[in-house]
Symmetry: C2
Subunit: 373 residues, 2 copies
């Protein structure tokens, strides 16, 4: 199979590495923009390539419901369907089934749920999730897991047993040798459960491991504590993927704790809400203060948006409800995270990540009026 991963440099607990797939090489740590419905919202794939996006994520739950994984398979898989030549990762559908579907019944065999689109009934099992992900044809696919609230110990213990049994079944159901199947460690905010999960999944020897069940509303301190435990518990030579994290400061702190990959809808979602990342914190581009501001969103940014357009113009587009505003904001916010992760990687390679992180975080978090959406 075409998948392999090497840690090439370490700096503290932070790692720089290379992840190889049949659709190309990924330099880690890496941020993965999310293309839920086979499109990173508002951004054409050639623009993503220009920005240097190395891998994007797509959602199994959404694509299964619409347009259907079998249709995508008939069209040659997701890469061809959406005209994205580089690596793709699909999630298992588990998280969406638990968070989006209107009604669900979980048993040891799987989950029955109601589509959020039309109310139709569906059932996901570990085998079904893998079959869908094989139809979609991503380079990295995920085990089907249960995502309980992170602070409910009893539920986490029960769910963990199920997630582990499902991981075994996913591994057995998986047939495509051109895809890497990652395990997902759960266990909420409980160290023993997390360690048990890491140990169990490691025994199955997956080519990579996700840290699941975080960034769902728990305390940030809890989140980073769990990530640190996982750094100790997971095999060091396999990639670690932190699911659902995209706030710049969180990305840096995750990398400080041994994370190699992360994904989040944040850059495109914030764009649609009018918020832009800058090195001095988030700014709300709808703010009247920018009506006459001739500067780009971020003077230090080299993206298309910042090379060509003023804050005044972007604010005008947002105020006027123009789609181009969402496009320009999305481009910038994605560029911001991709550039940040490139700088993070460079500083790890040069052995100065600690200083980089400290300086960067101080500036980013010093912002006097940070806007939190």
């Amino acid at each position: 199979m075409g998948f392999c991963f090497h840690v090439t440099h370490t700096d503290g607990r932070a790692r720089a590495g290379v992840l190889r797939t049949l659709h190309g090489e990924i330099l880690t740590p890496v941020f993965m923009p999310v293309g839920t419905q086979a499109t990173v919202k508002a951004v054409p794939p050639r623009d993503l390539e220009e920005l240097g996006a190395q891998i994007i994520l797509a959602n199994t739950y959404h694509l299964y419901l619409r347009p259907g994984d079998e249709l995508i398979a008939r069209h040659g898989g997701l890469h061809r369907f959406m005209s994205w030549p580089r690596p793709i990762l699909t999630d298992s559908g588990g998280f969406q089934v638990f968070s989006l579907s209107e009604m669900r019944k979980i048993d040891d065999d799987g989950v029955t749920f109601k589509s959020h689109l039309d109310g139709s009934m569906h059932r996901f099992t570990p085998e079904k999730s893998i079959r869908i992900q094989e139809n979609l044809g991503a380079d990295v696919i995920m085990c089907f897991d249960e995502c309980p609230p992170p602070t409910d110990r009893e539920y986490n213990a029960i769910a963990l047993a199920r997630t582990h049994a499902w991981a075994v079944r996913c591994r057995e159901a998986h047939t495509r040798t051109d895809q890497a199947l990652f395990g997902i460690a759960q266990g909420g905010v409980f160290r023993d459960l997390r360690e048990q999960s890491a140990q169990f999944l490691a025994s199955l020897d997956f080519p990579g491991y996700a840290i699941g069940g975080l960034a769902v509303g728990e305390d940030k301190a809890d989140m980073f504590r769990v990530i640190s435990w996982m750094d100790d518990a997971l095999p060091a030579h396999k990639p670690r993927y932190l699911m659902g994290v995209g706030e710049p400061a969180d990305l840096i702190r995750a990398v400080q704790r041994g994370v190699d990959m992360a994904d989040c809808v944040l850059p495109t979602r914030l764009a649609r809400h009018g918020a832009a990342f800058t090195r001095n914190g988030r700014i709300n581009m709808r703010n009247r203060a920018y009506a006459e501001d001739e500067r780009p969103i971020e003077p230090e940014c080299d993206c298309y948006t910042c090379r060509h357009f003023s804050r005044a113009y972007i604010r005008h587009l947002l105020q006027a409800g123009e789609i181009l505003g969402l496009y320009l904001m999305s481009i910038h916010n994605i560029a911001f995270l991709l550039n940040l992760m490139r700088e993070v990687r460079e500083s790890i390679i040069r052995g100065c990540f600690a200083t980089f992180a400290e300086t960067w975080l101080r500036r980013y978090e010093r912002a006097e009026n940070p806007m939190h959406l």
Copy 2:
């Protein structure tokens, strides 16, 4: 001043020419995409450049109301504000005042109207329209005119006198020598009024003339009759601009009657409604028939959309409400009209426009299930 126009080839009544402005040369006949609020909806300016758009239109009424022409002037004018380096044409605001504003009072001096955005009261006079257009800084600007319903003879006679008096005032108010001010001929569907209008405006020796008051709901036969009269009546060595026409068959028939320039929101508006231009007529991309269609929208088209994406993918995006669907559709529809006008121009230069037009129209209008939006 940097503006000049030369007819380089004729074929029947059709003309190929070159229009020079300070922001570049325009090869005619030309279709001008519309960027109402300083953006061609959903299309980044670099994509428009790639498509070969030579000149775009922006709307004085909209930009005056939001973000304000003075703000745009402070930011170096419209070209810089929207990052569009090529020529721009602004309309006078007249048509929008008559069609969009909620309430209006016309007198011989100007029009008082209520903003469609916030109900605030405003007044446009010929002098005000020119001052706004000078602030915006387009290469081609238009006289402020009154746009009566085309079949009301009495109203057209009264409005024409006003439009002519206003043309004189616009000419006097216009100070920027880097802009070409076009006159607008009115007169509804009445030959004597149209000829009177052409003659009066020609006496003012404008560098170009628009045919106004058409494509507002009158019979197509009436529209083409008026265009033919104007071809006879307007000075042959000046460019003729047909306002508000963008249906492909209409563009061809307009060029057959001596038109050099045309603009319309149709390609981007249709895109947002899910309709795509093809050489076999319009198709509704939301149609279930395209759910599994692996072909591009138009196999003969070389635009980004048609080079990379299937009808099935585009339909999926439209069904899922994804912005990328609007982008891809807009790109294609604009490319379609720009490519059409390039072919029209080539055939005029080669002296085979009549055959080209007949063949093209037969195929386009033969479509068995044309969709008319």
